[in-house]
Structure formats: structure tokens, C-alpha cells
């Protein structure tokens, strides 16, 4: 009978382990690049043409948000497109997302000489834009915030909660 008990116990543990793995896989699955309204390639623009990120993401040095290029910016180069009527609504599917309770300001990070790629990954190589390989967990942010001498808060590590949460 004790033998039976042990079998039941074993099965239970096994089931738990499987469930755990499933959850883990769901949380940390590598995000596939989503379908975009226009087959835009960072590989061509940022890679081959070596455009500066700021050429399109114009607000990144001055604003919390990096800013998305308006269609006039696209038309500036794609002149044949410009002759055609420009769609009045172009809805990109975001790949870079932070939870609402985390306040990230691009300008100050750029000012602190943090390369775009250090968070966004090698976008210049992406045919289809996808989320960075490392998920943006709090630990991801802490990697730098623990290390860096911070220009804003002076002494030491920028690990105080109000740095990002309000």
C-alpha cells in the first residue's frame, strides 16, 4: 500500500514539473516578428543604407518616447509613393513594450550614451522587426541601473524605485 502511495506521490510531482515547464515556456518564448501593414525592413534602412536611428525616430533625444516617423518622412525618400495618395492611417504593430507602471524616458538614456541596440537588440540586422531577444524584465533594467554611475542621482546606483515607477 505504501508502494501505491509512493506511485501517486511520484505522479503528482511529475505533473507539477510539467505544468511549471509549460508556464516557463509561455512566459519566455522568443517573440516572433508580427505582421506589419508595410513590409518595412530595418535591415535595409538601418543596415544597408546605414540611416541613423534618429532620422526616423526623431524625438529620441528630446522626449520620453522615441517617436515614429510621419509618412511625410517616408515620402521624402520614397518619392514615387508620395505621388500616390498617402494612406492617412498607418498602424504599426509594436514590438517594444513596457508595462504601464514603468516610466522609461528615451532622452535621458540617450543622453547617458546608452546605445539603442543595448535594449532593442541588433535592429539593423532585422528583416522583420521583432522584440529584443532578452525580455524587458525589471532585472534587465537593473543590469545597468545597478552598475552605472548615474548622472541624474549622483552617487551610486540608480536603483531607487521612483527612478522608474510613479
Amino acid at each position: 500500500m505504501a508502494a501505491r502511495a509512493r506511485t501517486i506521490l511520484g505522479l503528482g510531482v511529475a505533473a507539477l514539473a510539467v505544468a511549471g515547464l509549460a508556464v516557463f515556456a509561455l512566459v519566455f518564448r522568443p517573440l516572433a516578428p508580427p505582421e506589419q501593414p508595410v513590409p518595412f525592413s530595418h535591415a535595409i534602412h538601418a543596415g544597408d543604407l546605414a540611416l541613423d536611428c534618429r532620422f526616423c525616430h526623431w524625438a529620441v533625444e528630446t522626449a520620453p518616447h522615441a517617436g515614429m516617423p510621419d509618412m511625410e518622412t517616408c515620402a521624402g525618400c520614397h518619392w514615387p509613393v508620395a505621388t500616390r495618395p498617402v494612406p492617412e492611417r498607418l498602424a504599426w504593430v509594436r514590438v517594444a513594450k513596457l508595462p504601464d507602471h514603468a516610466y522609461f524616458d528615451h532622452s535621458v538614456h540617450v543622453a547617458a550614451d546608452i546605445a539603442c541596440a543595448s535594449c532593442h537588440g541588433q535592429v539593423a540586422g532585422m528583416e522583420r522587426t521583432r522584440a529584443p531577444d532578452r525580455p524587458w524584465t525589471m532585472l534587465f533594467c537593473l543590469d545597468c541601473h545597478r552598475a552605472r554611475q548615474t548622472p541624474i542621482h549622483g552617487a551610486g546606483r540608480l536603483t531607487n524605485c521612483h527612478a522608474c515607477h510613479r
Binding site: A63, P64, A91, V93, H101, S107, G154, N160
Partner: protein, 895 residues
């Protein structure tokens, strides 16, 4: 069952449904919003994602400008701040102005013109012969509106004015004293003595910001004496050093006594000892301070008394120094004080073919004895234009949704006359119409554009080159050279007020409500839940009676009483208010609305007892208990200090116990706040500013009654044993040795390197230990999903830089950390230090008396650091060793 948020008529089930809906809605839209990123087709100038744009404009209060800078996030107005360039506002605002954005997005605003469309409306109004047209407005200071009205009058139409809290008495008094209408401005800042007879100088009103600032400046530089005689406790009475509670009918006698004492051959009336003492003290004070004092008499008194006061001020040499008369800022209608009565009589006589009621609700606010309602229905064509489809709109043939000031193109003048061009931050949200376009349509110029109409007004004034000058006045929000011209007038022979007979029975005293005013703000949940300065009541109006009277009649707070006067009766919840004159009952206007009222709001309709001839005082009233009782929601059930005077004053050394622990050092910044209790007049501007800045939800009457209001900043009011009243704004103290932080098991509230007591909503699991441990009880808890029961439209009102708190988390004042961060980031970008005063918290920014000072204690030159050295400086409950960063300057108590 817990009923929550009647603001959104919630019972639990109702709440739950709402919650469900909201959840669904938010999820759907929220997802959409965060899933997609939609750039502009053509990026407009001056819009940077995540960086608010600021525009200079003005809000409107009783026709007067309240100049502001409006913050706009991606085209959404979210917050207003006083315009620092306006000589009248100097950067401050009152509570109503802080609530303006909430009005803009109010879900009850009328959505559509009815019964037809705009074209149909223009066709109808063009058919009206100008001769038969009457236009009814509130007070008008707008030059453009005046221009249009003049044109219409030219064409034969007649313009009338109705303002429930009107200036008729002042105008009448001005005619008596000077033979014509002038405005009277009090330069409180240069006063040594201010004698007030029933005039709530520092209370809510179109000129509150300037007067409170003046008073505060006077207090800073000296100890001006404020002497008040009034029937019911007002803000002014609360901060007075020498206050006499006396019935309204006795007040004219006091004025005469003062005049007599100062040698103006008035009769010496029979006064009681107390009255005599007060009057002679006042007269003496005025006499020994020639040119440095003010005698001001309020609208409730007869015009003769006001005129007498003009004479007194002139006699003691105040006129021209502390009392300045100017040409009227508000345009005076043809019939002057009797403008409204004239209209009603003509309507009743059937001689009016069409009436256009532009932004007003006379059906609700007209004095009962005029019977406006039945007069109105006799008018063949009735047109109403207003923000809400209200009682008046219901009786009119046409209703046109009116644009909110944030949607308007117009111009307004502040009480000192300086004009502001009102520019829209947003197109009319609910298909509303701008007032100048409506009038233009009446004049047959449909399709005229408000912006053009306003520009046409100013072209001659600004001159050439017009465009750059126009841009400049728009950008600065003030038109230079528009302040009211000083009027050289002298008070002529005086006629004394005919004494009011001592009618037996009680005396009714009418007052505008401190948070919903004359009722125009009754639909606004923010202002309904804003605690009234002296009672801390929310969602309700009471009939205030003297504690002794309450004791004599055995009336408890909340007992419903029946009040009868002049053959009409109303029932109202009673409330005993310290400082109320013995045989008077104070009734507050603004409640008992029939339409667009909020479900939670209680109160009664005081207009039903109001008479046209004596709108402020009414004798011979009766009062009796009905036996009924209603629950009143006050945020401060205990308004007595219970002998704890030490809470509001410095403690004998050593105030603070020694600490076992080494001190933390705050290397870069050490944010702190000092609040001067001597300057606070409890006006609530800070409370609403905080609510607007920090996405603070409204929870509804029953939740407030349960002690669950969410305001991060509260203004405590206390009465002490010697009858004095004290105000004390209480934000989070940001203690350096914070007990709350010790209680949290998950590091959800901790200390920052700049000394902020941080609250991390997304880490909070809701043990509420922090609040249990907080000696100041400044923390607020989301007992329900309050964010989800806010009106859907209020989502546009939210400050994107502040987290919307979830169900079950604690929240509290953060010293507006989002502003601190922005200032630090901007300073970093421009590689300069964060200068003192370059930014401040929402509460400090709004405060008209500048009683709240915020800054960096590490900066020895900062104002806050300087104030910490003041001998009046103290920390509340210092003996607990919490080391608060928010500290106080004690009130100065004379004698």
C-alpha cells in the same frame, strides 16, 4: 451592502457591472492602444510625443477671466495652472479653475443641438425680428461679446443680465455714492487694518485669487488686523483676528456706528455691548491708520450701507490708496440692476417674441417671487445655449450645446480689467458651438468663424502690424494696456439705510455654496466631492444653525428640518456651525437641481425661498424638525482640537527624541515642503490641483461617509476653545524615519536617495500596514476598483505621467515626483543645475496665498530652506521622531 460611487450611481451590483464594462472597455481599447503605434500622416509642429505643450488662455468664472496656462498631452487638455504673466493671477488659481478640465470632459455635457440641426437653427433665428428679441446672459466682460451685443441692441434687440450671485447691490451703492457705476478694488497688500461687514473677501468668487494674494502679502510684511462682523462663519471670518457673529439685520447699524465714530454725522444707533465694542474698535483702528485701512461692506447689506462705507473710506483717506475705484470691467446693461426684473416683466406681459438665454440657468436660479418659469413659457421662441441640457433648456424650444472655455475662441477680462484672448486647446468635444458664432448666426452672419470675430475686435486696439502682435498676446495670455482705468469719483451726500424691523422668528442668510457655487458646478463630481472648507461636507448642502440653537431645539447634525419663509417652505438637513449668529439660519445655493444633478448629491433648493428684493437676508422665518434624518458625508467628523493645540504650534525643546541609528545622507537632492499656516485660507485650490495632477478618483458619497475619500492632500479645519478657526493642509509628511516603510513586508513603500517616501503601486499587495503605522493618516487605499468607476470620458483627463492605481493598492502624496523627474531630466539635458523655483508641486503651484513652498533643502539659497529657519517653524508630531520633510510655520496669534 456597501454602495460605492453614487457619483456613477453605484450600488454593489451597479458598481460590479460598471467595473465589468470598464474592464472590458479598457482591455479592448487599452490593448489596441498599446498594441499599435500610429504615427501622424504629417507631423504637426510643436507636438513631441510624451512632452506636454502649454498654451496661454483663460477660464471663465461669472464672466470674468481666470488666466491660465493649459497643459496639453497630444492634444488632450489635462491640467491648468495660473498664468504667471497675468498681473491679476500671478500664477495662481482657485479651486473652480483647477476643476475646469473635469468640466470639459464631463459625461453629462449636452451632446447635440435640438430639435433640429445647426442649419435649421440658423434659419429659425434669422427669422426673428430683432425688435422682438431678448438676450439673457450672465455678467459680460468679453469685449467681443459686448461688441456683438451692442450691434444687436443697435438693431433693436434688448440685452439683459442675470447673475444669481450678482453685483446689483454694489452697482446701486456706486450710483448712490458716486452717481454712476464704478468698480471698487481693495489693495489689501498695503493695509494695516481691514474692517469687513459681511463681505467674504477671501472666500470663493471671481476675484478670490487676487484678494487672497493681497492679504497674504500684507501678512508677510506686517500683522494687519482683520476685523469681521458677519451672521455666519465665512473663510474671511475664519482667518480674522477679531470676529463678531451678529444677525444680518443688525449689520447696517454697525456700519452707521463706525461712520458716526469717525465723525460722519450719522445717527448713533442703539447697539448691544458687544456690537458697540466691536464697532468702536473698528472705527478706532480705521482712524489711526489713515490710508492704510479698508472698510468693506458686503452685498447682503442695503446699498445705503455700502455707499456709507465708500464715504467712510474717503473720509479717512483710504480712497485712492487702499481703495481704488475704476471704470466698471463688466459691461452694464441698459436697465442696470433691474435688468433681469425688466425681462421677466416683459415676458410675463407677453411682449417678448423670442428670448436667447446664453449660458445661464435662470429657471433654476431665478428668485422664487419672480416666477421666471411661468413668464418664460409665454415666450413664443425660447432658445437656450449652455454646457448642459439643464432645467432651462428643458423649457426651451431650442437647445444649443455651448463650447467650454478650453474649446472657445473669445476674450475675457480679469477683475482688474486685464484682457486675455481665450484660445481653444481642442475642437469642441461634443459638437458644441462657440458663443460668438451663435450670436453671429442671430445677426444673420451664420458661418462666421469665432476666431475671426475675436480678431476683428482686437484689430483696432492692437494696431499694425497685427499678426505678430496678435501672436504675442495669444502667446502671453495677457493683452497689455487693458487694465481698468482709474475713475476719479468722490462720494457725495449720503442717505442712511432705512432700518430693517426686527421681525420675530429666525433670519435666513443665503450664501453661494463654496464648491458648487450657484449650482453651475453641481454636475461636476470633483467639486461635489471636494470638502467644503468649514464643514468638510461633501455631496451635500446643509442649513447651518448656531450650536446653541441646535441644542435648544434638540437638533443633531443631519436631522432634517422644515424651513418656512414668505409663504414657502423647504426641507434641509441641519448642521450646527460654530460662529453662526444665534437666531440665523444659513442656506447654501446650488443644490436641489432637477436636471443634470449627480445621483449622489443631496441638499435642497434654496432659490425656492429667495426673494428678488432681498436676495441675501430674509427675516421672519420658521424652523421645525421633521423627525427625518439623513447621513451626511464629511471627510472630517471631528473638527475640534480636543486640547491638542500642540499639533499646530512649535513644541518646547527637545521636540524630537534622539535616534539610535546613524543618519542617512541625501547627497544630491533633499526635497522638502514648508506650509505657512498663517497664510492658508482653506480655499481648496491645492486639493483640486492635486486631484487633477495625480489622477485621483472620485469615490462617491457613501464611500466618503465610510471614510474612504481618496484626496492625497486634505485641508484640516479645527475650531479651538476660544472660538478661533484654523486651517492645516496635510499632504504626506515624507518622514525621513518613516514608520510606514517599516511596516511594509514587500518593500512597496521605501525611501529614495532624495528623501522622498516612495509608494510603488505595482509592488503593493495591500496589507495596509503602512496606513496603520502612519501617525498622520495621509495614506489612501483603493478599497474598490475606483479607477474603473470613473466616467469613460475622464480617461482623456488622465495625466499620462502618473500611474492609474489598481484595486487593492495603497496610494498617497508623492510630492508630484513626475514633476521632479521631468525637471531633473530637463536640467540634465541642458546641463544646468535644477534651479530653485524652476518647478514646484501642483498644490504649491495653485496656492493663491503661496502658503505652500516646495524645494531642495540641500540648496541653502532655496526658499524652503530659508523658511525652515523661521522661528515659527515646527514639525507636526515631532516628538515621534519621524523627521517629517513636510513642516509648518505656525499661525501668528495676536493678543
Amino acid at each position: 451592502m456597501p454602495a460605492t460611487g453614487e457619483a456613477m450611481n453605484g450600488t454593489v451590483s451597479r458598481r460590479a457591472v460598471l467595473k465589468g464594462l470598464a474592464a472590458a472597455g479598457l482591455a479592448g481599447c487599452g490593448d489596441e492602444a498599446s498594441r499599435l503605434s500610429i504615427p501622424y500622416a504629417d507631423q504637426p509642429e510643436g507636438i513631441t510625443p510624451g512632452v506636454p505643450a502649454w498654451y496661454a488662455t483663460a477660464m471663465e468664472f461669472q464672466g470674468y477671466a481666470q488666466p491660465v496656462l493649459a497643459e496639453s498631452h497630444m492634444g488632450r487638455p489635462t491640467k491648468l495652472e495660473g498664468n504667471p504673466d497675468s498681473p491679476w493671477a500671478r500664477g495662481a488659481t482657485d479651486a473652480f479653475t483647477q476643476a475646469a478640465c473635469a468640466i470639459l470632459y464631463d459625461p453629462q455635457r449636452s451632446l447635440a443641438i435640438r430639435p433640429g440641426d445647426w442649419a435649421g437653427f440658423t434659419r429659425v433665428v434669422m427669422g426673428v425680428p430683432a425688435g422682438g428679441l431678448r438676450i439673457l446672459t450672465g455678467t459680460v466682460t468679453s469685449p467681443t461679446l459686448a461688441r456683438q451685443l451692442a450691434a444687436l441692441t443697435e438693431a433693436g434687440a434688448r440685452w439683459h443680465v442675470h447673475e444669481p450671485v450678482g453685483r446689483e447691490t454694489m452697482m446701486r451703492a456706486s450710483r448712490l455714492a458716486f452717481g454712476r457705476v464704478v468698480d471698487t478694488h481693495l489693495l489689501l497688500e498695503s493695509c494695516r487694518v481691514v474692517v469687513v461687514v459681511d463681505d467674504d473677501l477671501l472666500g470663493p468668487g471671481p476675484d478670490q485669487v487676487r484678494r487672497v494674494r493681497g492679504w497674504a502679502e500684507a501678512r508677510r510684511h506686517g500683522q494687519p488686523r482683520l476685523m469681521v462682523a458677519e451672521p455666519t462663519l465665512s473663510t474671511t471670518g475664519a482667518v480674522a483676528q477679531d470676529r463678531l457673529a451678529v444677525a444680518g439685520r443688525r449689520l447696517p447699524l454697525l456700519v452707521e456706528a463706525i461712520a458716526a465714530e469717525l465723525g460722519l454725522g450719522a445717527r448713533r444707533p442703539g447697539l448691544t455691548e458687544a456690537e458697540k465694542d466691536w464697532a468702536s474698535a473698528a472705527a478706532l483702528a480705521l482712524g489711526v491708520n489713515p490710508g492704510r485701512g479698508v472698510l468693506t461692506v458686503g452685498a447682503p447689506l442695503p446699498a445705503e450701507s455700502l455707499a456709507l462705507a465708500h464715504a467712510v473710506n474717503q473720509a479717512v483717506g483710504n480712497t485712492g490708496r487702499t481703495v481704488v475705484h475704476t471704470e466698471p470691467v463688466a459691461v452694464v446693461p441698459r436697465d442696470g440692476e433691474d435688468s433681469f426684473r425688466a425681462l421677466v416683466e416683459d415676458m410675463a406681459a407677453g411682449s417678448v417674441e423670442a428670448v436667447l438665454i446664453l449660458d445661464g440657468n435662470p429657471v433654476y436660479t431665478a428668485p422664487a417671487d419672480l416666477d421666471f418659469r411661468s413668464a418664460l413659457v409665454r415666450v413664443p421662441l425660447k432658445i437656450h445655449a449652455g454646457l448642459f441640457d439643464d432645467e432651462t433648456a428643458a423649457l426651451c424650444d431650442w437647445h444649443v450645446p455651448l463650447a467650454h472655455a478650453l474649446e472657445e475662441w473669445t476674450d475675457l477680462r480679469a477683475p482688474d480689467g486685464t484682457a486675455t484672448i481665450v484660445q481653444p486647446l481642442i475642437d469642441p468635444v461634443f459638437g458644441a458651438r462657440r458663443r460668438h458664432e451663435i450670436l453671429a448666426a442671430v445677426m444673420g452672419e451664420s458661418g462666421a468663424e469665432a476666431r475671426r470675430i475675436v480678431m476683428d475686435t482686437w484689430r483696432p486696439f492692437l494696431g499694425e502690424p497685427f499678426e505678430p502682435l496678435w501672436r504675442r498676446v495669444l502667446h502671453e495670455g495677457v493683452v497689455p494696456g487693458t487694465e481698468a482705468q482709474v475713475a476719479r469719483v468722490t462720494a457725495s451726500a449720503r442717505r442712511l439705510a432705512s432700518p430693517i424691523a426686527d421681525a420675530d422668528g429666525l433670519e435666513l442668510v443665503f450664501r453661494p455654496d463654496p464648491t458648487v457655487w450657484d449650482g453651475r458646478y453641481a454636475p461636476i463630481a470633483w467639486l461635489q466631492e471636494l470638502p467644503k472648507p468649514l464643514t468638510k461636507l461633501t455631496w451635500d448642502a446643509v442649513a447651518a444653525i448656531a450650536p446653541m440653537l441646535a441644542a435648544r431645539l434638540g437638533i443633531a447634525d443631519g436631522d432634517v428640518v422644515e424651513i418656512a419663509a414668505a409663504g414657502r417652505t423647504i426641507t434641509a438637513p441641519a448642521w450646527s456651525l460654530p460662529g453662526q449668529a444665534g437666531d440665523t439660519v444659513t442656506l447654501f445655493l446650488g443644490y436641489g437641481r432637477q436636471r443634470v444633478a449627480l445621483p449622489g448629491a443631496g441638499g435642497y433648493d434654496a432659490y425656492r425661498l429667495r426673494l428678488a428684493d432681498s436676495p441675501w437676508v430674509l427675516g421672519g422665518a420658521g424652523l421645525r424638525r421633521t423627525g427625518a434624518h439623513v447621513e451626511l458625508a464629511t471627510t472630517q467628523p471631528h473638527r475640534h482640537l480636543h486640547g491638542h493645540e500642540e499639533l499646530l504650534s512649535p513644541q518646547p525643546e527637545p521636540a524630537e527624541p534622539p535616534s539610535l541609528y546613524p543618519d542617512w545622507d541625501y547627497p544630491r537632492f533633499a526635497w522638502g515642503m514648508v506650509i505657512d499656516l498663517d497664510l492658508c485660507v482653506g480655499c481648496n485650490a491645492c486639493v483640486v490641483a492635486c486631484q487633477a495632477e495625480n489622477n485621483i478618483p472620485v469615490v462617491g458619497k457613501s464611500e466618503v461617509a465610510r471614510g474612504r475619500e481618496m484626496h492625497w492632500l486634505r485641508v484640516d479645519v479645527y475650531h479651538d476653545d476660544d472660538g478661533a478657526t484654523h486651517f492645516a493642509p496635510i499632504p504626506c509628511m515624507h518622514c525621513e524615519k518613516a514608520p510606514c516603510e517599516m511596516g511594509c513586508p514587500v518593500n512597496a513603500t521605501v525611501h529614495g536617495p532624495d528623501g522622498l517616501n516612495q509608494m510603488i503601486y505595482n509592488r503593493c499587495i495591500g496589507t495596509r500596514t503602512c496606513s496603520s503605522y502612519c501617525p498622520y493618516k495621509v495614506r489612501r487605499f483603493n478599497f474598490f476598483d475606483y479607477a474603473a468607476i470613473q466616467p469613460d470620458t475622464h480617461r482623456y483627463l488622465r495625466n499620462p505621467d502618473v500611474t492609474v492605481r489598481a484595486n487593492g493598492v495603497m496610494e498617497k502624496c508623492t510630492y508630484c515626483v513626475q514633476r521632479i523627474r521631468r525637471a531633473q531630466i530637463e536640467a540634465r539635458a541642458e546641463e544646468r543645475p535644477v534651479a530653485d523655483g524652476s518647478f514646484t508641486t501642483a498644490c504649491a503651484q495653485a496656492c493663491p496665498s503661496r502658503a505652500i513652498v516646495f524645494g531642495d533643502l540641500n540648496d541653502p539659497r532655496s526658499r524652503v530652506a530659508a523658511l525652515r529657519g523661521d522661528p515659527r517653524h515646527f514639525a507636526m508630531l515631532a516628538h515621534l521622531g519621524t523627521r517629517p520633510r513636510t513642516t509648518y510655520l505656525a499661525r501668528i496669534r495676536e493678543s
